[in-house]
């Protein structure tokens, strides 16, 4: 199995910084969306809709770097960047970063860091959704919601994670494979 070298560490950090900048840029979008949905008691939906973008660093790093721990480290560093850029959630961002990264990592663990196909991405999206949702049951008090609303939140979250962490990641990956810049990738 491949080990971490200085080049990979710098690469995953640069990727994380780029994603951190994006997380930070869509912050206002999240606020506006949450405000628009708030009167109907639907503000958690804003979180669910955009969550896919926040968790993208994980699968993207996992697909590009292909070393155990890449997804977790990519997502954690993205959170660090967001925190120091002036994101306000502080230590909670770091914990979420680890939780989200580990959620994506599970998908790669289950496929043994060998297969990088659609099925891996679907699996990753599923593990990410389940792990982060469990975390929110406690942290954001989701456990107190009525079951139908909870199911809606879960479905929207999975859709978002699938679109951004799955479809978009795969499209980016396809471009990279076509450009022959992923040394250990197969078509």
């Amino acid at each position: 199995m491949k080990r971490w070298h200085i080049r990979d560490i710098i690469l995953v950090t640069i990727l994380a910084i780029f994603m951190g900048v994006i997380f930070w840029v869509i912050g206002p979008l999240y606020t506006v969306l949450a405000a628009a949905l708030a009167p109907f008691g639907l503000s958690p939906l804003a979180n669910e809709l955009l969550l896919g973008i926040w968790v993208m660093a994980g699968p993207l790093a996992g697909f590009i770097i292909r070393i155990p721990g890449a997804a977790t480290l990519g997502e954690l560093l993205g959170a660090v960047v967001e925190m120091f850029l002036g994101g306000i959630w502080g230590a909670s961002t770091l914990i979420s970063g680890v939780v989200q990264g580990f959620g994506s990592e599970l998908g790669f663990i289950f496929t043994g860091y060998k297969r990088y196909t659609w099925s891996t991405l679907v699996l990753t999206a599923l593990t990410t959704t389940i792990v982060t949702f469990t975390w929110d049951l406690f942290r954001s008090g989701y456990a107190a919601y009525h079951v139908p609303f909870l199911l809606l939140l879960f479905a929207v979250r999975f859709a978002s994670v699938f679109v951004f962490g799955g479809v978009l990641t795969k499209l980016i990956n396809n471009l990279l494979v076509r450009a022959h810049v992923l040394p250990n990738a197969t078509h």
């Binding site: 200085i6 990979d8 710098i10 640069i14 910084i17 958690p44 909670s92 008090g141 450009a179």
Partner: protein, 217 residues
Amino acid sequence: MNPSLKLALTVFIALEVSFAQVWTVNVALIVVSLILMLINHVSFKRLLYLTLVPLFFSSTLVWSLSLRGSASPHFLLVIFTRLFVYVYMGGLFTQTTDPLMLTRSLEQNAKLPAKFAYGFLAAFNLMPKIKAEVATIKAAAMMRGQILHFWSPQLYFKVILAAMNWSDQLAAAMTSHGFVEGAPRTHALTIPLVARDWWFFGGALLLVQVGLFSGLR
């Protein structure tokens, strides 16, 4: 306080608060963080920002929990104050910690391998270049009549190519300056980790535990 210990303390308390349901401890943490931020001369504007944003999110969360769920008033109070704990403790941490010192401390005190510490630092110093690169890519695409959004694969593709180039070059530059992975290093600047740091760390943790247990009973 030693940056690594401060980070550990902040993360550990945030983790505990996420599971515990004791609003008095939350309020105590908020007050302590606020006092420490005031002592450390955090600007009034920043404090106002750190108050208004969680106020908005806490309110919407509590509103939807009471509208769409079956939460007790006690639980709503816990959730409401919890978000403030995250934001105030996070604010205290980022406003009083220098990222460079944190990385050095993680390397020296927390035994993070040097390749990670210096790899992170090398990449973080590229931050302005990374922002500029994103702007350049967007501008270049616009000249050809393409608009790149945050959902455009092309945008990510181009940035990843740049990131790969830069990481190759930076790694080569570090090697040529004598950086060897896993080799023993000396430090021009040592980050102290003294008994007082440990006492403060242990004392703060103990206080939170006592608060949580007496609150749960």
